[in-house]
Subunit: 131 residues, 6 copies
């Protein structure tokens, strides 16, 4: 249960309602997810995050599905339940199936393993990219 | 500096040398990276990791570049210097440029932010995918 | 559910009871929280943690509320549900409201983002404090 | 060393230069720190982060020094060297001395300990704040 | 609830059934734990993980109980509920009692504390092992 | 480089010197490691940590070497360079060789992998120990 009272649509201020309306329209859903109703307890954060998220998730050189799969990889590595559930659902809506998730999880697992072994042995970098 | 003595090619046992040879051939390089020379201090681990890595990184439903970018996302989230450097170089060799890395880092940063806010507010899941 | 049997007040040894009594008195509560009943399964740990916690949380150059907000920041970054709930309640009892928590979460989120970007890009330190 | 080429002031585009100028003016420094020169390799990220950071770090219900100390707590928990160095220097410039940092580190250490013990024992929440 | 449909024994392919049978035989249980039914949604991962796990957990220079306690230490540090529960049960079956877990948790807690303080103060290494 | 000035033996207060003397005697070394000289910038923390560490690391149901190997597992999972180096050296002095470290790292790697996969798939616990 959220540690703050979530802001329901009917009690929201006009600026919060504007974010809620835009969010439901863009996502094509008819409810406001708990994350956003929680963050709305601090309106400047709601507004900033919603603006940033749209900017970051817009398709660019990486497409939207790739971005959602990266979001799953980050959320699995951090162990954030809410985020894993919501990004998996979003990627599923964009076409990810169980086999693609299987490959994704295999990669996430593998590099969590090698990350800790490279650290645990204190291996020194010998490949230095400069893009 | 590695906490164990790295196994140099000329001192390697035949089974370790076989991995080194395969590794240099597949990667198209003429040296053995520090990670592998370190892990070779425990040959069963060297053999298992090299076998697993080839299996996990083989192109499937996700292509190789996408897998390397997921490896960067995991390594950045864990803060593993060696891994960040080596996967960034690998992705660069496969065509990732600074703009693609910029989008990748923007996504990684954004969801590290939302992961901690979803946890920090203890938001309850309201979207449950079943693939 | 705790992985060990929690030690209830009525079954506690005198040394455990002494910690429980002190804890309820100092916190002004009439029950022993689950964390402490769990840790009491290993009495030396109970005694050491309770002693340390009082020492660390005593108001000094930082006041008690600031210390509780730092505890929330750490717990949100680690994603520890029990800890987030209990430190948020403690900070609330000391006067933290939803707006202050909103600012706190905004800061926690922001620096989880920049932490991972600084790591992900392997940025080198160029500012070295010496206090 | 950054994995991308940093954008030096003299080679920056006008929109990047505008951020650099604002940044040096607000921070009262005459150089652009490595983090910002690195992030400038992806201008939309530079612009978004600088805007967000100013919004989040503006004094509100929490003062600037408290916010910098929370940034240190987050960065120490994540182990981000660049961030620890730069936020410690920033807090020092705002008046934090070694004794205050000592109290801060004691709190950060203590709750990293209790976080892992609460998780390690799977303690169930029994205190639920609703702000 | 798993984000993918778990593969029940009766619906499993022959290669998945073979892993399930081997797993129940080796563990001496008559059900397939959720982790394995979930991972079976991607058969190559199921097969690889089961093979690797048997290799890694076989008694060698470290005995099986020590390996399970290290698994608890890792899982507590990462805060993985499923893993903490299952490795604690496995260690308990091998003879770990509440007092041994108490010592283990005390060590895990203590070094999570010192890890963050060593990082938070940016302490430089002055002891370099070479095994 | 530490973010605070380290306290050298010759400039230490009597209470800090007492810890330094005890520490060098117990460890059988003739210098004060950087971690302790850094923590000494806040004497109450130095005194508390040294007292706690001796209590936690005393041989009990788990022997000293097992405790040092758990310290390595925690430090590798957190990626703390200083701690990995110093606990690896301590375990080496107690008899750990490259093969034992190899098994330890294999276990640490394996469960960092399974931890993230259990989280990434949101697997529900089906084994609940009660010690």
């Amino acid at each position: 249960m959220s540690t703050v009272k979530m802001v329901e649509y009917e009690h929201a201020s006009p600026e919060v309602k504007a974010v809620y309306d835009d969010l439901m329209a863009r996502k094509g859903i008819d409810f406001v997810p708990n994350f956003w109703k929680t963050v709305a307890s601090h309106p400047p954060t709601l507004i900033r995050l919603w603006r940033d998220l749209n900017e970051v998730m817009a398709p660019g050189r990486l497409d939207r599905l790739t971005k959602e799969m990266i979001a799953i990889a980050v959320s699995a590595t951090n162990g954030c339940n809410y985020c894993i559930n919501s990004h998996t659902a979003a990627a599923q809506a964009l076409g990810m199936d169980a086999e693609m998730l299987g490959e994704l999880m295999a990669v996430v697992g593998m590099f969590n393993l090698t990350n800790r072994m490279a650290e645990g042995y204190q291996v020194e970098s010998d490949v230095l990219p400069t893009l």
